[in-house]
Symmetry: C2
Subunit: 244 residues, 2 copies
């Protein structure tokens, strides 16, 4: 089932079998895309939205000098640009990190869902609000944490989210990001990311090599990143609590 990871660990159980089927039947197209491929450009009108099936996607904005600020990292099960449905256009770019597989939904189809299935609609709405909750946490990260904390927090967040959809365990996961990418996500320099990674490694908290994150001390890392997974709205059965 293509949409099996959607809201997994966040109340997907709350969807009836019929609703799950409606979602599944609403997929217009499944596509594979190469790394570093831009799906949507800021400002353009959009008629479809994208559910991420495999791989990683990011959203970002450019500053005056063309430097990027990531505003979101997406993992399988995320409805990456569902907000384009009510908004019609986006205020940021959307691009793949590594290679991905995505499912596309036509906005016309989504409109039908909103007209006929209020409860499913509310769950779709909820999924966009999860993104907003993560945005807020990113604001917190940039505003209150130093460089070390920011990187630690990001590693914790992605681990917790991947664990919820069964793509991470024992503190290990694949993350197709470079050090400059991390820098763009954390609002610091690529050079400084490197120094921070060395520190975190030396303190036996986490290592990041060859696109692989290995969290050696979850509690310690969560402490450095002041990470509390409540904002991810996982259900009680969800492994996000590993950090609690």
């Amino acid at each position: 089932m293509l949409t099996e990871k959607f809201l997994l660990g966040r109340g997907r159980e709350d969807l009836s079998a019929q609703e799950k089927q409606i979602l599944e039947d609403s997929v217009a197209e499944v596509r594979s895309l190469p790394p570093r491929h831009r799906l949507v450009r800021a400002g353009q009108p959009v008629q479809t939205s994208t559910l991420l099936l495999e791989g990683f996607i990011c959203r970002y904005m450019d500053d005056r000098d063309g430097l990027r600020q990531l505003v979101a990292v997406h993992i399988p099960g995320d409805f990456v640009d569902l907000h384009a449905f009510p908004m019609k256009r986006l205020d940021h770019d959307v691009a793949t990190l590594g290679p991905v597989k995505v499912a596309t939904f036509d906005h016309a189809t989504l409109k039908t869902i909103t007209e006929r299935h209020p409860h499913l609609t509310q769950r779709l709405w909820f999924s966009t609000l999860l993104d907003a909750a993560m945005h807020r946490e990113w604001i917190f990260r940039m505003g209150r944490l130093g460089a070390e904390g920011r990187v630690a927090h990001l590693f914790c967040e992605i681990y917790a989210r991947l664990a919820m959809v069964g793509l991470a365990k024992d503190g290990c996961y694949t993350l197709p990001m470079t050090q400059p990418d991390l820098a763009e996500a954390c609002g610091i320099t690529g050079v400084h990311v490197n120094r921070v990674l060395r520190l975190l490694r030396e303190r036996k908290l986490v290592t990041f090599r060859a696109n692989t994150v290995e969290i050696m001390d979850p509690a310690g890392l969560a402490s450095v990143g002041e990470f509390n997974p409540d904002y991810l709205y996982g259900t009680s059965a969800t492994p996000a609590g590993a950090f609690a």
Copy 2:
């Protein structure tokens, strides 16, 4: 009409007279609240949502040391915690800045709306996505701008939003925030906010005194803050374009 400012300048025209009436009739209660009053505490279950009628409200999160990071500032017409309706609980606190007047909506009533009025529901959804768009811009502000730019950007954003609902003109508006408040919104120190304000004043860009913002050079301020109002999704008739 209590709800007259809701989505004003953001496609409120798109609502039918009937829909506007439904919204108006859904108000459960109107209340006045004193400055610095906390409406919602993070984590608590919530059964109502709040439309801000008059005054200013902020949302914030605490770090380990109890220091606050503002994640949103709300102005009249904003449905401050509508996201609590699908989410059931919030990941942050909500508090007034100055004195406010608010309208309260029961979630049971909102549920009825989502079951019977898909189009109105979509506009409610849209309003929560506007908040998410502002969150993203805040991430950008914290990640890519220096202290000066952050303060400049914030002043620009609030001006553009107030102008859309008719509460600011000629670059002037009232903002019941202290310098420490600004600091909490911008991720810098209160002391440094003071220095930045002096700089901006000396450069004849903007002054902030006695809860009053006076933008003397809109274009210059927008340039320092790398401010582009597109993310506010104003309509073409909207004064937000004053900064474009």
